[in-house]
């Protein structure tokens, strides 16, 4: 099978050190920011040490993911998907002792001293199975009409819809939106006609617009049938659009924007933050960076994400196999959405959802899942055959 001008490297020789280096820089940023955050309140545990441990475990996970050729994951995709779905159903039916209720939502398994979030597993499984579905579809229908495109859209919607509905039962809107972001970026890359993509986008916009219209025109109907009486669901939006008028619900938004804003251009300096934000080491880690390191620091963090995604785009472009490109696109959709949503809620661009900043926020499940996803991208890159004379076809 080897072509003459094809030179074979072992996968370990083809590791993308650019990506690894970006990951290392993010690791440093994460440790520094968490160290600052844990000065804020009386915590009796050292989150930095734990985060380092999570990174080490994540690193081992990357190596583990690298062992199998990524093509193997294609074969395993439905098993992984099934595992993710079972775990999500388990959340709903498991007893409280295994799945405790934390702040009104049940999203975590707790076994012994460990806790993990099955939705993180599902993100990885979803990317692999959607990539598989798209790759198989595209291999089967070489000549594509609108009909084939519609079938593909239907398949994507079905594969994404099941875990999406399960996650909404927890309820966890944030993670649900991550699934949609993954599906969206994969649909874009899958080659579905632009026209259809525009129409779907339009439908999405119309759907949201209709909800807003109903809210303003028939508020009682909106409250009774759409919120089903759960008025507090609206707080999230009030707090986002006008936090000053809703200081209780908007407390975190006000504090986060105050922290980021008061950092100005160069920040207040390491450990010199003064705005108190509860539990800042997780979802509001960005506000710590913004306050202590200023616009300079936040720009660097955003640039790191941009570089990370740029590298992944490159991996996707270089991949010899469509399946590899799709994997990259899914991971890009995931990271981009989480980074945008998390940073956005710290600066009042987005409403608050419980989504961590990938690689930076403190948290075992999230770090591990992101590392595995990055492992997939590294895997794709390592197994890309380089052509000595390039390929400009």
């Amino acid at each position: 099978m080897l072509m003459d001008n094809e030179k074979k490297f072992s996968p370990w020789q083809q590791i993308d050190y650019n990506l690894v280096f970006i990951l290392f820089l993010m690791f440093c940023v994460s440790c520094i920011a968490i160290y600052s955050a844990q000065q804020m309140a009386q915590y009796d545990q050292n989150f930095v040490v734990k985060q380092i441990i999570y990174y080490v475990v994540g690193g081992i996970a990357i190596v583990g993911v690298m062992f199998l050729d990524y093509d193997q994951y294609r074969r395993l995709s439905w098993y992984l998907y099934g595992l993710g779905i079972i775990l999500l159903i388990g959340i709903i039916i498991a007893p409280l002792s295994l799945v405790p209720d934390i702040n009104g939502a049940r999203a975590w398994y707790r076994i012994g001293g460990f806790a993990f979030q099955p939705s993180e597993v599902m993100k990885v499984a979803l990317i692999i199975s959607l990539s598989n579905v798209i790759a198989s579809h595209n291999e089967k229908y070489i000549i594509r009409t609108i009909r084939e495109d519609l079938i593909l859209i239907g398949k994507i919607a079905l594969v994404t819809g099941v875990p999406f509905l399960l996650i909404m039962m927890q309820p966890d809107l944030g993670t649900g939106l991550v699934f949609i972001a993954i599906a969206g970026s994969l649909m874009l890359v899958s080659g579905v006609r632009w026209r259809l993509i525009f129409i779907i986008t339009l439908i999405g916009i119309l759907f949201i617009a209709t909800l807003v219209w109903i809210y303003f025109t028939f508020p009682q109907f909106f409250i009774d049938y759409i919120l089903r009486g759960k008025l507090y669901q609206l707080d999230r939006f009030y707090a986002w659009l006008d936090p000053e008028a809703h200081p209780d619900a908007g407390y975190n938004t006000l504090k986060a924007v105050l922290a980021v804003g008061s950092g100005e251009l160069f920040g207040k300096g390491f450990l010199h933050g003064s705005v108190y934000i509860p539990e800042a080491q997780t979802d509001f880690i960005f506000s710590i960076i913004g306050e202590e390191w200023g616009f300079l620091g936040t720009s660097i963090v955003i640039s790191l994400f941009f570089l990370l995604i740029y590298r992944m785009i490159n991996v996707g472009l270089e991949s010899n196999e469509a399946f590899g490109s799709y994997l990259c696109a899914g991971v890009i959709g995931w990271f981009t959405f989480q980074a945008f949503q998390n940073i956005g809620m710290n600066i009042q661009v987005m409403p608050i959802t419980g989504i961590p900043l990938p690689f930076i926020s403190y948290g075992g499940s999230a770090i591990l899942a992101c590392m595995i996803a990055l492992g997939l991208v590294l895997n794709v890159r390592s197994r890309t055959r380089k052509y000595m004379f390039g390929s400009n076809q």
């Binding site: 804020m40 595209n138 291999e139 070489i142 970026s185 874009l188 890359v189 899958s190 080659g191 924007v257 105050l258 922290a259 980021v260 804003g261 008061s262 950092g263 100005e264 251009l265 933050g273 003064s274 705005v275 108190y276 913004g290 306050e291 200023g294 616009f295 936040t298 720009s299 955003i302 994400f305 941009f306 995604i309 740029y310 785009i313 996707g316 472009l317 010899n320 196999e321 469509a322 490109s325 990259c328 696109a329 890009i332 959709g333 981009t336 945008f340 940073i343 956005g344 600066i347 009042q348 661009v349 076809q393």
Partner: protein, 669 residues
């Protein structure tokens, strides 16, 4: 090259994806530029703003002195264990903490109520108690009702299972539960050094627990008069809003009963405040501004503690005597006696003492509050007021005579005085305590003609009203106005149309009165009809630096006339004469004991039947002296007596003691 073809759209689409990533990140960068650079200075200013933080330090409460300026209530510095409850603490957490604490401190369990025990039992034996509720009941009732049912089904036997150690844990848990989140709550006041050492060693394992310097009330005179001084405790939940509105903090100690409660606003100190600025992180900036607190003002009582102690001793020894020897069996139900001594001209209470026998321990404990908060049928002592009611309403004149012989109503009922006295006027009626005379007054008030044995114009209820209104003018059955919270006003039996009841009412057998009311009544007669407001506090004084000197006078409590009774002066003088005859006349009921006294007392004794079958009475005595220029008035109430006359003996000794001490310059100075 099949693959390439298939994949041909991918690079373009990936680039499109990258473009959207770029756009999204650009939004973030633009927004950050706006927030951090354009608006940055504004946010910086807000975040630099400081908070004013005020910490308060408790100021000591005012002290209480007696009229001779001896300290009756003092402040003692102690250490307290406090618990600050976190918002998310659960009942289970506090149970665990109480369990741990019980190993380090000892806690008195006397304040634990039965309800507390039941709640605790359910907490400990949840499953067992749940079994006592049938499935049917569970279906029918809501959670609150089920819990109520569970409470009902905790038996006495269950509660007896609780060990002493468990009760101690419960007593501690009660205090832990009582607090408010984020505000320290005292778990135990006045811990011992050993307890402090043990707690400090384990402080890390006891979240929310702290040891703080505190103050405790100290009583140099021991239990003497303590019952009226009142208690200082944490603000009760029911009164929290009241005190918070008055600037108290949740964990403040306030007077919760009697004098401490009545004079809370005087005794309460001004807390010292330390104000300082902090940055947003809570670090203090600059020098704090200190506002010095002040100890609360001091009270000077009207009570002379020497005299008070002596009165207490008299009561105890007389009770002992009446309960011993040949009276021991007859007076098996005799348990208590009360004495109020006041200055009839000013209303100053000179002593207020009571003793209560505890058959379990065989001891006599001080019970001064019985004078204000317990009421008794007083018997013939009210006859002075009955005569005045007759005189004022015009049914008798000072010269009206009635023939004292058994009254016969033709229906078999016979009512009589102690002995037949023949034709007597009001003076003799008082001297010899004629029931028949009083009954005649009552019959006339009711419109009953005894000679014809029928009503002329029946108005029994009117008789009740006239008598009760007259008694009320003397303070009987109405608040005396003493400076104590919610005094008792006696039991009001209502109005009936039964003539016999009206007649018994006229000799003090129906309504009940407090010893304090009786003292005010006799003082009003002694004081020519002016009813004085009794008071326990004489002066309010500023705290002084010199412990041997009182501070500056803030307020002196002046004598306050509540009302002047409506009767003619000559009518009042007639009753005064009658009262003097009781203690000096040839037939005076109290004359054998008092006729030779140099202080010339006047007064009236009383006997109220409590249990006719076994001949058990309340024995009372009211008196004042000297008869011409009264300076002291007393009331003595000895309930449940079957033999002996402890009321006379106590009254005599109290008056003797008063005048003995007066000769030495006490207690009226």
């Amino acid at each position: 090259m099949q693959k390439k073809k298939k994949k041909s759209h991918v690079p373009f689409r990936l680039n499109a994806l990258f473009l959207s990533v770029f756009l999204l990140f650009s939004i973030l960068i633009f927004r950050l530029g706006y927030v951090q650079i354009v608006k940055g200075a504004e946010y910086k200013q807000t975040s630099d703003q400081t908070d004013n933080v005020t910490t308060k330090l408790d100021a000591p409460r005012g002290k209480i002195y007696d009229r001779d300026h001896r300290v009756v209530v003092n402040n003692k510095p102690v250490y307290s264990i406090t618990y600050t409850r976190m918002q998310n603490s659960t009942a289970e957490d506090r149970l665990k903490l109480a369990e741990k604490l019980s190993h380090f401190i000892h806690k008195d369990t006397s304040e634990v109520t039965e309800r507390d025990k039941k709640d605790f039992f359910i907490l400990l034996h949840k499953k067992e108690v749940e079994k006592r509720i049938t499935a049917k009941e569970k279906k029918k009732l809501n959670d609150d009702q089920i819990y109520q049912l569970e409470l009902d089904r905790v038996t006495k036997k269950d509660l007896d299972q609780l060990t002493d150690h468990q009760l101690e844990v419960l007593a501690i848990k009660r205090e832990l539960d009582g607090g408010y989140s984020m505000s320290p709550q005292r778990v135990k006041v006045g811990v011992t050094e050993k307890e402090i050492a043990r707690i400090s060693e384990h402080l890390k394992e006891l979240p929310g627990i702290d040891i703080k310097p505190d103050a405790q009330r100290d009583y140099p005179f021991g239990n003497s008069f303590k019952g009226i001084l009142g208690q200082v405790k944490q603000i009760p939940k029911s009164k929290m809003d009241y005190y918070l509105a008055r600037g108290n903090d949740r964990n403040d100690l306030v007077g919760t009963s009697f004098l401490e409660e009545q004079y809370e606003s005087v005794l309460r100190g001004k807390k010292s405040k330390i104000e300082y600025m902090t940055d947003k992180a809570g670090n203090p900036i600059g020098d704090p501004i200190e506002k010095k607190g002040e100890r609360g003002d001091d009270l000077v009582l009207t009570v002379d503690m020497d005299f008070q102690k002596k009165v207490e001793n008299i009561i105890e020894s007389e009770l002992k005597e009446s309960k011993s020897g040949s009276f021991a069996y007859a007076n098996r139900d005799l348990k208590e006696a009360y004495v109020t001594v006041m200055n009839p001209n000013t209303g100053e209470i000179l002593a207020m003492a009571g003793k209560q026998y505890d058959p379990k321990t065989g001891r006599y404990k001080n019970d001064p509050y019985g004078n204000v908060y317990d009421s008794f049928a007083a018997g013939s002592v009210v006859k002075g007021a009955t005569v005045l009611a007759g005189l004022q309403s015009g049914v008798i004149t000072p010269n009206t005579h009635f023939y004292d012989a058994p009254l016969n109503f033709g229906d078999g009922r016979v009512m009589k005085s102690v002995e037949n006295m023949g034709s007597i006027g009001p003076l003799t009626a008082l001297e010899r305590s004629s029931n028949v005379y009083m009954w005649n007054i009552a019959m006339r008030l009711a419109g009953y003609d005894y000679s014809k044995k029928r009503f002329i114009h029946e108005n029994v209820e009117g008789a009740f009203r006239t008598l009760r209104n007259t008694y009320a003018q003397f303070g009987l059955g109405v608040p005396t106005g003493i400076d104590l919270p919610s005094e008792a006003t006696g039991y009001h039996t209502g109005i009936s149309d039964d003539l016999a009841q009206a007649m018994f009412f006229a000799i003090g057998q129906f309504d009940t009165y407090t010893p304090l009311q009786l003292a005010q009544y006799v003082s009003t007669i002694a004081n020519d009809g002016y009813r004085m407001q009794p008071h326990l506090v004489k002066e309010i004084r500023e705290p002084s630096e010199d412990p041997n000197k009182l501070g500056k006078l803030v307020t002196r409590i002046e004598p306050n006339v509540l009302n002047r009774i409506d009767m003619k002066k000559s009518d009042i003088e007639l009753v005064q004469k009658g009262f003097r005859l009781v203690m000096s006349g040839a037939h005076g009921t109290a004359a054998p004991r008092f006729s030779h006294k140099s202080y010339l007392p006047a007064g009236k004794s009383g006997t109220a039947q409590v249990d006719i079958k076994t001949g058990m009475d309340n024995r009372t005595l009211i008196a004042y002296a000297p008869y011409k220029h009264p300076e002291v008035a007393i009331s003595v109430v000895v309930p449940n007596v079957r033999a002996d006359t402890p009321n006379y003996e106590i009254g005599e000794k109290v008056l003797d003691t008063y005048f003995e001490m007066k000769d030495k310059g006490e207690p009226t100075k």
